[in-house]
């Protein structure tokens, strides 16, 4: 009783007297030509319960490559599982050798047992990770403070050239972007305010709204968001790549503390630049409001400027500058900490950059909320 199931490349021939299933391979068995699914073969194996052996017939096979071998490997494993003998004699000589090589048992393969992901152990290890990470961050902060005191005592090895270069990169080079964003934010504030104020003919208060909002908080926040995306990310990527290339190790073994040499100038540069960029952003925002106020709402330019001057008190500026210094510290710390702790792979650098920006922006918003609340309580 011979039963053949036609298939494009694979046919089966069951010999019940020998309890043998013969596989016939036909035509092209290369990866590029497409391969049949193993399912068909498995169905055949299941169909005959008393099967003892499988054999191969490859007379019809015109071409093969590693795709053929991978099919055979799966088949052999399936047969081992079902305790069916495999006779490789009918295979092309090269294929038989390659199959043997692929199936040989590897020595010394010791994989770590995968830990079960149960809920409570998972929560526990997450908490431990957080504690660990907080500990590392405090260490990092402590080292940074120590290197800063060293700098004040004039014993630091920090290079002022590096500092100035970072000042230029994080400060001066950010001017264009800060101008664009701040002018637009000033315009948006003016528009949103105008719609409401027009209802009772108080358009002239646009100047107050834009001026106070920009100087007190928005200028600092917008500059900080730009800096987090621009400079925070670049700190993390720079230091991360240095970690990957063993450059940081090379500093350490030279007796140079990377915190003092690499992190300190970055933090100082950003903390110095943030207030300056913030003041600049404030002015640009007021300019944006001015453009909308005079250009579209028809306010008198001189009156607009006078109102701004009257509305924006000096304490608003101080509040804005406190914001900016806090933001500068947050962004620089987030960027440098993530960069220094970066794991040694390309993916590690990506993660470090991402988490520098995410940590930076999240912390900026949280810090804004806290400062606003404190100012409210103090009545500033």
């Amino acid at each position: 009783m011979n039963k053949e199931i036609p298939s494009e490349k694979l046919t089966f021939n069951y010999l019940p007297d020998k309890k043998t299933l013969e596989f016939k391979f036909i035509s092209d068995w290369r990866i590029s030509a497409g391969l049949p699914e193993l399912k068909e073969a498995v169905l055949q194996l299941s169909a005959h319960q008393d099967i003892k052996q499988i054999t191969f017939d490859s007379f019809g096979l015109t071409a093969w490559d590693s795709g053929f071998i991978s099919f055979l490997m799966q088949l052999v494993k399936e047969c081992q599982h079902r305790k069916i003998d495999v006779s490789c004699q009918g295979l092309p000589e090269g294929a038989e050798k390659l199959l043997k090589l692929a199936l040989q048992v590897r020595e010394n393969v010791t994989l770590k047992p995968e830990r079960e992901e149960k809920l409570f152990p998972k929560i526990g290890s997450l908490v431990l990770q957080r504690i660990d990470s907080a500990h590392l961050f405090l260490n990092f902060l402590g080292d940074l403070v120590l290197s800063f005191t060293k700098l004040i005592r004039g014993k630091s090895i920090m290079r002022w050239d590096d500092f100035l270069l970072i000042v230029q990169k994080s400060g001066a080079n950010a001017f264009g972007l800060v101008s664009l964003i701040s002018v637009l934010v000033g315009m948006i504030l003016a528009f949103v305010g105008a719609i409401q104020l027009q209802l009772f003919g108080a358009q002239v208060f646009i100047a107050d709204i834009v001026g106070i909002a920009m100087v007190r908080v928005m200028g600092a926040v917008m500059a900080a968001v730009i800096m987090a995306g621009r400079t925070g990310a670049s700190f993390a990527a720079e230091l991360g790549i240095m970690q990957v290339n063993e450059e940081i190790d090379a500093y350490k073994t030279l007796g140079v503390d990377p915190i003092e040499f690499l992190v300190l100038p970055r933090v100082m540069a950003l903390v110095l630049m943030m207030p300056l960029l913030t003041i600049y952003a404030d002015l640009m925002g007021i300019l944006g409001g001015f453009i909308i106020g005079t250009g579209m709402l028809g306010l008198n330019p001189v009156e607009y400027l006078n109102r701004t001057q009257q509305a924006v008190k000096l304490n608003n500026l101080w509040v804005g500058l406190v914001h900016s210094v806090v933001f500068g510290i947050i962004i620089a710390l987030a960027g440098c900490f993530r960069g220094i702790r970066c794991s040694r792979s390309a993916a590690g650098v990506g993660e470090a950059t991402t988490s520098a920006v995410v940590t930076g922006i999240t912390s900026i918003v949280i810090a804004t909320a806290i400062i606003t609340f404190v100012c409210q309580v103090l009545g500033v």
Binding site: N108, I157, I241, M242, N245, E246, E247, D249, A250, Y251, K252, T253, L254, G255, V256
Partner: protein
Amino acid sequence: MEKNSQPVIEVRGLDVGYDDDIVMQGLNFKVNKGDIFIVMGMSGCGKSTLLKAMIGLQQPFKGQVLYDGKDFWLDAEQQSIMQRFGVLYQSGALWSSLTLAENVALSLQLYTKLSREQIREVVALKLSLVGLEGYEDLYPFEISGGMRKRAGLARAIALDPDIIFFDEPSAGLDPVNAKMLDDLILQLRDVLGATIVVVTHELASIFAIGNNSIFLDADTKTMIASGSPKDLLADSKDPRVIQFLTRGNKPGA
């Protein structure tokens, strides 16, 4: 204590590893002045981890690393001990934002009182020692891998260190450049009188330059042989050592 009798580096009962995993344990060996000391073993057996514990990058779990009798990991002057050694990293690890000259000059600027002019001359000398004169103003990404390694060596010897560590010096180099680096290592030992520790699995280098060595084994997590590589090849009875030193020919097979 006599200076000659004391080893430059002594490792006592050292256990090293990462996080909670011990990679190597119970290491004991001495490196004498002028030695070219080879740390060998299969890939991934823990050679580099041991090196990190010796140069201060990874705190060991247990045991001591002594430099001229001073316990490195307990010494308050750890940084000053570190200034005594030069390290050539596997990738060269040149500071990518600095030119070759600046790479070599940095330690001179930090730790010596030489004038700018003097530093420039010392840098030119060190670069010419490794065959890179005229490349002062290039950045690391502008030169080939072999040159990067040599520049890394020029940086490692900037302060004329007593001890130079090499992490896989011939990795990624062609045979000619690898041989050139081996010759440089020998010359440095003779000219600077430096003590040299080389982590490698490159057989040609091991026999060409090593006069003392230890063999690390990943399965037993410790050192299973020590001595001059040539003696080990001639006398060792351990099949793992023989297999390694003869490129996988199993003894008696």
